[in-house]
């Protein structure tokens, strides 16, 4: 065991922190208002190599290990959970291609996703489905060398950018469950207006409509009928990102509380002198420290899967579920504690905690509600 960051890890963490502070932070208000990630941020992420961080150098990736991705994502999400979410889904979509794609598919997409020219999406959820694939209503129907996709996907991130979308469908002929790669904005692809939501502005979510979308049958991802394996592992990889976003939120809540406590005067002395405030700072710190090692460790576990052939992913999937639920629930608690340090001022748009608080509440609800994650873990140890 070694809890010290390596030189490389320190550099990545530092680069991400500086980028977040110098580039993202000044654009914060704009991100909140426009509800999208500004071009210069995407460019910056690409330039720093973050958009391809864990992937093969052959594709222009950094081969840097997922703990580095966690370090970068944490620092970015500290400043903007919206940017973090767009980044996270970008990586998650790429993960799935890197894990399950043929060499051809990877060569076709990954060099461009690593450069940020294409931005992947991951489309499972539908209006009528929760986490159960048997409820899927989107169908893929074989038509010669093509498959024809029809249906609606809900709450899809990055759906408004060019790039590959991994779409989970029911095969009309076999009743099986498969994943296909669809190029966004192809014929028959269209979007709803984005959903209005409480937070994570910058990463709008859409309903996506597929009307007779035709893709080559070779766009099948992985084996036919094995969509469930892709879904489970893809979601588990996605949880690396959502956990790191939550961790960034906890860090932000903690740092903002410390900053405010030092600055804000009450009867002539900083509120940092009051024990009630100190206790909250202590609790916030414990929340941060207890969560961070779980998140970093989850990153290192992913390194044992990507590129090593996908064998026995169950333990990784279970731990991803555990970490995600813990981190996201803790983020909500941390935001609340920090808000309590800020009191009335925290409710105004003058301080970032207002945004941090709105952003945090989302985390337990997405990519699997927290209770479901705990049940996944429990089944892994109880069976």
């Amino acid at each position: 065991m070694d809890f010290k960051l390596s030189k490389e890890q320190e550099l990545i963490q530092k680069a991400a922190r500086e980028f977040a502070t110098n580039v993202i932070l000044p654009l914060g208000k704009k991100i909140e208002q426009d509800d999208k990630v500004p071009r210069e941020i995407w460019d910056g992420l690409a330039e720093l190599g973050f958009l391809g961080l864990p992937f093969e150098e052959d594709f222009g990736g950094g081969e840097a290990g997922y703990e580095n991705y966690v370090l970068a994502q944490e620092q970015i999400s500290r400043v903007s959970s919206g940017v973090g979410t767009a980044f996270s889904v970008h990586i998650m979509g790429s993960d799935v291609l890197a894990l399950f794609g043929t060499r051809e598919q990877q060569k076709h997409y990954l060099p461009k996703t690593c450069k940020g020219e294409l931005k992947p999406s991951f489309a499972f959820t539908e209006p009528g489905t929760g986490s159960d694939p048997r409820q899927l209503a989107t169908t893929a129907t074989r038509d010669g060398e093509y498959v024809v996709i029809n249906g609606v996907k809900r709450f899809i991130t990055n759906a408004g950018y060019e790039g590959p979308m991994v779409v989970f469908c029911k095969d009309a002929d076999t009743g099986g469950f498969s994943a296909y790669i669809v190029d966004k904005f192809c014929q028959g692809y269209s979007l709803s207006k984005s959903w209005e939501k409480i937070g994570s502005h910058g990463s709008p979510i859409f309903d996506v409509y597929f009307k007779d979308v035709r893709v080559p049958a070779s766009n099948l991802l992985g084996e036919p009928g094995r969509g469930f394996d892709i879904l489970l592992l893809g979601i588990a990889f996605g949880k690396i990102g959502t956990s790191a976003i939550a961790l960034g939120g906890i860090l932000a809540a903690y740092e903002e509380a410390v900053k405010y406590a030092r600055e804000k005067l009450h009867r002539g002395k900083p509120i940092a002198k009051f024990q009630a405030i100190q206790l909250k700072i202590g609790h916030l710190a414990a929340k941060y420290y207890s969560t961070r090692w779980m998140c970093y460790r989850l990153g290192t576990l992913a390194n044992d899967i990507l590129g090593k052939g996908v064998q026995n992913p169950e333990q990784f999937q279970a731990e991803a579920a555990l970490v995600k639920s813990y981190a996201s629930d803790t983020a909500v608690e941390a935001a609340k504690l920090s808000m309590d340090v800020h009191a009335s001022y925290g409710l105004t748009k003058d301080y970032p905690i207002e945004r941090i608080y709105r952003d945090a509440i989302i985390a337990p609800q997405i990519e699997g509600v927290s209770d479901m994650q705990r049940i996944i873990w429990a089944n892994s140890v109880l069976n």
């Binding site: 929760g130 409480i198 409710l347 608080y357 509440i361 337990p364 209770d371 049940i375």
Partner: protein
């Protein structure tokens, strides 16, 4: 002991519910977008007499108690907390007048304050005061038959709307640390609200900074007259009771709304062929929420009853506030768990409730202060 609602109380509850659903609910989208309080909505509420529930009839009130007041606040907050809060701030000023003003002032101000066009404000907080009256910088200086008021107030609710304001000023003539409460008509010469806050929630509530630049009002506007001059701190404490009780009722009202939203969703939302209401994890969440709502409802009524009996209430009110505000937060969070990703879209009321609810843990004194107050009667 008798824990039953009377027939009149049930009728009131029912009227407020119907009004809130029929008159307030349709305005919510507008209020959330425009971040303004519709003046005519407030007028309608005043016309129904709900600003005067807990006041004697001779001052224009309806002669009921805080129990009825709490019932009204709970029901209104169930639909939209901002509006209930607009009303409750009016009530805080009213409580001060009722408790400290001279009989002449009561007869002069209360009927209009409870039934007229405007809506009241309560102006204590300044950039550096916190809850310490000794730190006030807004000054009042007597000039013959008039007060001259100068200074700046922060976070003042309803300040951008017409009506009466009770303002706390440093009164140097009375000695160091002394403050005096003065009634001023908002919008008078020298009065301005340069900033309405952009905030996380409670969008139907107008909260402002107020600048007072040589504002002149008659000297006789001193709340309570000459006898109360320099005793502003007493006046400040006089309204905390209704202020805190209102927050508690609002918290319970919102929690009730969150519970109802989650129940409705769980019955409609189908997964694996059956409503999610059938899943034990969902039932368990709803069970916890229902507990907080039931307990909160009961404790608000008990505290309101005690308030009506005129009992010393500081510690009990702090406890009620602690419990109800934290319960509201728990219930809103759990409602989001029940509703999953849908809960954070604006299609459902729960994301608004979650944002609005946070205020109940903060205003009228943050919960940390409530914990200390809650211990006072035991540790003295």
């Amino acid at each position: 002991m008798d824990f039953n609602y009377t027939k009149e109380q049930l009728m009131l509850k029912d009227s407020v519910r119907k009004f809130s659903e029929n008159e307030i609910a349709p305005m919510i989208k507008w209020m959330e977008t425009e971040k303004r309080t519709p003046r005519d909505l407030i007028k309608k509420i005043k016309d129904l007499g709900w600003c005067g529930i807990q006041y004697p009839e001779k001052y224009g009130g309806s002669g009921n108690t805080y129990v009825e007041y709490a019932i009204m606040q709970m029901e209104m907050s169930r639909v939209y907390c901002s509006t209930a809060c607009t009303i409750s701030v009016n009530g805080m000023l009213g409580a001060n007048i009722m408790k400290f003003a001279t009989e002449e002032q009561k007869l002069k101000f209360l009927p209009e304050h409870l039934n007229g066009e405007g809506i009241g404000s309560f102006a204590f907080t300044e950039p550096s005061t916190g809850s310490d009256p000794g730190a006030l910088r807004t000054t009042c200086v007597r000039d013959g038959d008039e007060w001259v008021i100068n200074g700046e107030k922060n976070f003042i609710t309803n300040a951008s709307m017409p009506g009466l304001m009770g303002i706390f000023c440093k009164d140097a003539e009375m000695g160091p640390g002394k403050c005096t409460n003065i009634l001023i008509p908002k919008g008078i010469k020298g009065y301005s609200t340069p900033r309405i806050y952009d905030k996380m929630g409670m969008h139907g509530l107008e909260v402002c900074d107020v600048v007072l630049d040589n504002v002149r009002v008659p000297y006789e506007n001193t709340t309570g007259g000459e006898a109360m001059r320099g005793k502003g701190f007493q006046v400040l404490l006089g309204s905390t009771q209704i202020g805190k009780l209102s927050v508690c009722a609002q918290a319970v009202g919102m929690a009730q709304a969150a519970l109802e939203a989650a129940v409705k969703y769980s019955k409609e939302r189908v997964q694996r062929g059956k409503p999610i209401a059938n899943f034990p994890t969902i039932q368990s969440l709803i069970g916890d929420m229902a507990t907080d709502v039931m307990v909160g409802h009961q404790i608000v009524l008990a505290t309101a009853f005690k308030a009506s009996e005129g009992k010393e209430l500081a510690a009990d009110a702090a406890r009620t506030r602690l419990f109800t505000s934290e319960a509201c937060h728990r219930v809103a969070s759990k409602a989001m768990q029940v509703m999953g990703a849908y809960s954070y879209t604006t299609e459902f009321p729960i994301e608004r409730i979650f944002r609005d609810a946070k205020l109940t843990e903060i205003y009228e004194g943050v919960n940390e202060i409530q914990r200390l107050i809650s211990s006072t009667d035991l540790l003295r």
